[in-house]
């Protein structure tokens, strides 16, 4: 089966071409074709996963390469397929979610005038994503990366008649391009130094020391920039919430399993090449994203916007998990998140389909009307909140453990911020997700007209929900995932950075790290600790908690590589300890968040409106998404507009002035040339003509027309010749 893996992405490509060309004329507008091809892909992915699973080998690899572009007898660029455990899992995730989204769309998009085109776009999206997963070189992952960007543009802007939708499509595409540019630079650095692009070849070259030091860090950060764009990390997270303008199945497909996962997958794919500095960079961005977007999600009232920001936040978790060294944790969260977030999105689609509204303030009490949607949505919410027994608990717990371990091992107490921030945000996540569930499904209906209209969705819509909810339990993942997906050896470490130097650079980077945001987190965390006494672990460890240290960063903590002297045993003990602490604390915080949500929105012990009014500026700040859009409007967009206006002025006055000057010069010269032509050239021509006329009028008199005149001249001429000859 694994030998035929290349067929998996090609099938959706085929159905794309067929459906875009003749889809309208096919029976049922060709939806069965797209669904069928992706279902075959799903079957093959299951087969591949089964083979991989039976081998049960952490180092399993299936790698085919053949030359794609050769110059002379040197293969310049290769193409091929790389399947290891991560790829097999990702293949399964992508095909499962994609298949279910196809199925869901049959019901959701029923009757849309562009039905066949929608399915064609879904197919090209699946093709791009599967190609991206299977790619074995930086070049091909970049190609598919861009294809994913293109197809997401098509899908987000699917209802392009709506201006907001077409704007959202453009925004997603352009913001992604910003990140992709960094990705391209990273690839160019790699190609310029190593001269190869295959993952294995590049890692080998880096291991040989062809690319090291700061340049390697830059290459890593460049590649990570791609992930920032695609996985919607701060500061490029702005596109993802807007992308909710697309049809809801698209939101599920793009924001749960495919496009946003691509960035995390990329980071996991090129994991060995990151330097400690690059890891710290990645972790910082993950932390900022997960906190920032979670706070925004607190104040949103659009069901899909809440989910969108929660997606951003969860992606932040993954990225931070990868950044702090939790390779397995990050990818596990990617996998589990794909299932429960797809379930949440499709569930929200089901709700929107039923009540024709996206505002949770208008919903309520829907659990009686839509029992299946309610139960599946609740299961997925429990999963994302990190309740034990559900998949989110399993993976988020690993991320928290990795962050705690990182913080404990690090000589810099500031690094505990990763754990503390993530833990606090875990509480926020539970709170806002349950706020969503309570407002949507519990309580009394707020809009009776909409409530009376609501009904359970058709089977093609709830079957995917049930399947995805089923996949949101942790027993599917625990055990084998940790065994099969293991952190690859870093090649960057071999590249000649000695351990103390590494610590020094990390310290340096920590000082350089964006501190202001850390302050905000720690300040709030401190407030929370003071008021509720949660997060006991910070006290227990006796490590300086972030809010203890002055946030101004006055003490850079000279590089003391003390923590690096510990033995391996100690490290594993530390990891174990970190894991159990993380587990207890995350359960505690998650429960607290859920409890708080019920307190506020069900029991009514705290009136949300009064709280809202009490912290009005903060609420406005959050509801307006930290004013990121306004910030970008003011800086990037208005900046480029002003720049464009400046260029227009330059064009109008300087460039056009030059052109006009040249033109006037030309006119003047032409005038002179014209006069010359009139008087000199034409004068010469006319002179010749009048000379000819004058000469002719004289000579014409010679021609009398009388025969004897001619004969006389003839004879006279002969006589003259005779006389000349004679004398």
């Amino acid at each position: 089966m694994i030998r035929y893996a290349y067929i998996i992405p090609l099938l959706p490509l085929l159905s794309f071409f067929i459906n875009i060309a003749v889809g309208k004329r096919l029976p049922r507008k060709g939806d069965w074709l797209c669904l069928g091809t992706i279902a075959i892909g799903l079957a093959m992915s299951i087969g591949i996963f089964y083979e991989v699973f039976r081998a049960y080998d952490p180092n399993f690899r299936y790698h085919v390469v053949f030359p794609w572009l050769t110059v002379g007898d040197r293969a310049l660029l290769n193409t091929g397929i790389l399947i290891d455990n991560v790829t097999a899992v990702m293949l399964l995730v992508v095909t499962i979610v994609s298949t279910l989204v196809h199925l869901f769309s049959i019901g959701y998009m029923h009757g849309d005038p562009k039905y066949n085109r929608f399915f064609a776009y879904l197919s090209i999206f699946s093709f791009s994503m599967l190609g991206l997963v299977l790619a074995e070189s930086f070049l091909f992952i970049y190609i598919f990366w861009e294809l994913v960007g293109l197809s997401s543009y098509l899908l987000i802007g699917f209802w392009f008649e709506k201006k907001s939708a077409s704007d959202a499509g453009k925004k997603a595409f352009i913001v992604n391009r910003v990140g992709d540019f960094g990705f391209l630079i990273g690839i160019l650095i790699i190609y310029a130094t190593c001269g190869v692009l295959g993952y294995d070849q590049v890692f080998l070259a880096i291991g040989e020391g062809k690319l090291s030091g700061t340049l390697l860090t830059l290459a890593g950060i460049g590649v990570f920039c791609g992930a920032i764009g695609k996985s919607a990390q701060f500061p490029l997270h702005v596109w993802l919430p807007d992308a909710m303008e697309g049809p809801t199945p698209v939101s599920a497909l793009i924001h749960a399993a495919t496009m946003v996962a691509a960035g995390v997958y990329l980071v996991g794919r090129v994991y060995p090449m990151f330097t400690p500095d690059a890891f710290l960079f990645i972790a910082c961005f993950g932390l900022i994203t997960l906190f920032l977007t979670a706070t925004i999600a607190l104040a949103q009232n659009d069901i899909k916007k809440v989910l969108a920001y929660s997606t951003c936040s969860q992606l932040g978790y993954m990225i931070m998990g990868l950044g702090v060294g939790g390779y397995t944790a990050g990818l596990a969260h990617l996998t589990t998140h794909a299932a429960f977030k797809a379930c949440l999105f499709l569930g929200s689609g089901s709700v929107i389909h039923a009540v024709h509204s996206q505002d949770i303030q208008e919903m309520g009490g829907l659990r009686k009307k839509m029992p299946i949607t309610f139960v599946t949505f609740l299961i997925a919410t429990l999963a994302i909140s990190g309740v034990p027994g559900f998949s989110g608990f399993y993976s988020k717990d690993m991320i928290l453990a990795a962050a705690l371990e990182f913080g404990m091992k690090s000589a810099n107490p500031l690094h505990m911020i990763f754990f503390v921030g993530a833990l606090f945000t875990a509480g926020l996540t539970a709170f806002y997700m349950f706020r969503l569930v309570i407002l949507t499904f519990f309580g009394a209906p707020k809009d009776h007209h909409k409530y009376d209209h609501a009904h359970e969705s058709p089977a093609s819509m709830w079957v995917p929900l049930v399947v995805l909810a089923g996949l949101s339990f942790s027993f599917w993942y625990s055990g084998w995932f940790g065994t099969l997906v293991q952190k690859p050896k870093s090649v960057a470490n071999l590249a000649g950075i000695s351990a103390p130097a590494k610590v020094a650079t990390m310290e340096h980077a920590a000082v350089m790290a964006p501190a202001p945001h850390g302050e905000a987190v720690s300040a709030k965390e401190g407030a929370l600790n003071a008021s509720r006494g949660s997060a006991p672990e910070t006290g227990e460890h006796g490590q300086a908690p972030p809010h203890g240290t002055s946030a101004s960063g006055e003490t850079p903590h000279a590089a003391v590589p003390a923590a690096h002297g510990e033995s391996h045993e100690e490290a594993s003990h530390l990891a174990h300890m970190a894991h159990s602490y993380a587990m207890y604390s995350s359960v505690a915080v998650g429960t607290l968040g859920i409890f708080l949500a019920f307190v506020v929105y069900t029991f009514g012990w705290i009136n949300p409106d009064r709280v809202m009014n009490a912290v009005k500026p903060l609420h406005n700040f959050l509801q307006n998404k930290w004013y990121f859009d306004e910030l970008y409007d003011a800086t990037v967009i208005n900046g480029s507009k002003a720049f464009a206006r400046g260029l227009a002025w330059f064009d109008l006055h300087v460039v056009d002035g030059l052109v006009n000057l040249v033109a006037q010069l030309g006119v003047f010269v032409s005038f002179l040339v014209g006069k010359f032509d009139d008087y000199v050239v034409d004068g010469a021509v006319n002179g010749v003509a009048s000379a000819t006329i004058g000469g002719g009028s004289v000579l014409r008199r010679l021609q009398t027309g009388k025969l004897y005149h001619y004969v006389f001249v003839l004879a006279g001429g002969a006589l003259v010749i005779f006389l000349i000859k004679a004398f």
Binding site: L699, Q703, T704, G705, L707, Y708, V711, A715
Partner: protein
């Protein structure tokens, strides 16, 4: 009979022909004058050939000239016929279309 006497006869004949061409107004008469000129040259050809050359080039040339004169007369008379048809006369003074 010597060469110079023959040349004198030919020259006299030539002058007669030339005179006829220059003075007569009738085209046919002009044609006859041309015939005289041609025959004057014929005499010269034959005379020079007889007295000064061992080959018969002059005599043969004279035969050519006779043939030429016949052809010329035919063409010229055809022209005169056309001229008579258009103008009603064959007087050369009338045919001054080429007058400058």
């Amino acid at each position: 009979m010597t060469l110079d006497k023959l040349l004198i006869i030919a020259a006299a004949l030539f002058c007669c022909g030339l005179y006829t061409v220059m003075t007569r107004r009738s085209a046919v008469a002009v044609l006859m004058g041309v015939e005289l000129i041609l025959n004057a040259t014929n005499i010269n050809f034959v005379a020079f050939s007889f007295f000064l050359s061992r080959v018969m080039g002059g005599q043969i040339f004279a035969v050519f000239v006779i043939v030429l004169a016949a052809a010329e007369a035919a063409v010229a008379l055809a022209i005169f016929l056309r001229m008579f048809a258009t103008t009603g006369t064959v007087e050369v003074d009338v045919a001054d279309e080429m007058k400058g």
